[in-house]
């Protein structure tokens, strides 16, 4: 595999051809905010939170493969504004009642809002009518909180394995559908994996929740991406 040299925020790094910009940045301790992207899952670039300035153009860093002498700028005032606007839109689009959510404090969408210091959404909330699917014995799906990132669809099942999750309907009515027959014998491990795959509180493992006290949850004291940035400081 051939190597290329790319510049991220003025510093040069070597990367393998075919690697995505977001992964190269992560390995080198530079945090690019992501939401629909997950390490080890085929990227799709739908949420655009990872939008960076790549060779002068705004591109999704999770679906842009590196090329020789590529120049990437991961953060500036305009990019921060784009990202903040996306987070505000996602909050306005769904029914995100943080105080009632089991995922609060461990939620990626909420953590991004904290990182960007969103005090209020500039958009009027839609309050869409959505339901909760709790038929599965191990997990429940709360469509109110789903951001349609497709992480569950891409990570759970697929590529030869039966698809446990899939999209149903189209446009603004699109929602994640769970195959109740295939998931009837879901184990605790599979339920946990499904819950961990969801960046928000849309997929929850049953009989679990609020088990970590406020103050000790993932994003209570440090913003999302701090781990990556700490690694970067060591390099």
């Amino acid at each position: 595999m051939s190597m290329v040299i790319i510049t991220i925020n003025g510093k040069e790094f070597s990367a393998k051809t075919g690697e995505m910009v977001v992964d190269v940045a992560r390995k080198n301790g530079i945090y690019i905010p992501t939401l629909c992207n997950m390490e080890g899952v085929i990227p799709q670039g739908s949420c655009r939170i990872c939008t960076c300035l790549i060779d002068g153009r705004t591109m999704a860093a999770c679906t842009t493969p590196v090329s020789h002498r590529m120049n990437v700028e991961t953060n500036n005032a305009e990019l921060e504004k784009i990202r903040t606007t996306i987070v505000e839109l996602l909050f306005a689009e769904g029914n995100h009642y943080c105080p009632t959510c089991e995922r609060s404090g461990n939620c990626d969408l909420q953590a991004l809002a904290y990182r960007f210091n969103v005090l209020v959404s500039q958009f009027k909330q839609i309050f869409p009518t959505r339901n909760v699917d709790a038929k599965n014995p191990k997990i429940l799906i709360d469509h109110n909180r789903c951001i349609q990132c497709k992480r569950c669809i891409r990570r759970m099942g697929g590529s030869g394995k039966p698809a446990w999750f899939s999209f149903k309907d189209r446009g603004h009515k699109v929602k994640v559908n769970i195959d109740h027959e295939l998931t009837a014998d879901f184990t605790d491990e599979m339920a946990q994996k499904a819950m961990d795959t969801c960046p928000v509180g849309a997929i929850l493992k049953k009989e679990k929740g609020f088990d970590v006290p406020i103050g000790r949850r993932k994003y209570d004291t440090e913003p999302i991406g701090t781990e990556i940035e700490k690694e970067g400081a060591k390099l």
Binding site: Y97, C98, S121, F127, T221
Partner: protein, 183 residues
Amino acid sequence: MSKPVVATTSLAGCFGCHMSLLDIDERILDLIELVEFNKSPIDDIKTFTKECDIGIIEGGCCNSENVHVLKEFRKHCKTLVVIGECGRTGGLPAMRNNNASITECLEEAYLNCVSVQANDEKIIPNDDELPMILDRVYPCNEVVKIDYFLPGCAPRADLIWNALVALVTGDEMNLPYEVVKYD
């Protein structure tokens, strides 16, 4: 120079944000030195007796009374600060917005709920004296212009304290990561 005047109210909230305001502990003595309270449940002044500098609002609008009070606050206060999730996003009362009609809400509250015991005549209160319930719960910024928002359920006492002191002294608002939370 006279002290800045502060008014507070709880609309469609649970008074948790006011509890959090009291949670500033002994700093409440400093607060009394810094500001004067006007209309507020804290001092039990029911109506505005003078123009205020800062209005602190807890809760969104779920009935006509809430809308009336909020508009009064906008009229009498130079700066309006919404504290808490209910005022900022509608919060928990707004959970009725997406899956229940007013009829369903009232029937659940007065007829069908398991804790309803002595309503044999199946009465849903409907007196002229009672405020009308709105079609849905409105965050405060959908009713009047709001100047500042402090998130949290309830907002951390330090967040309210920092914001209030900054507003009164004119210093820059210090919002540490640990205190800006949505829950």
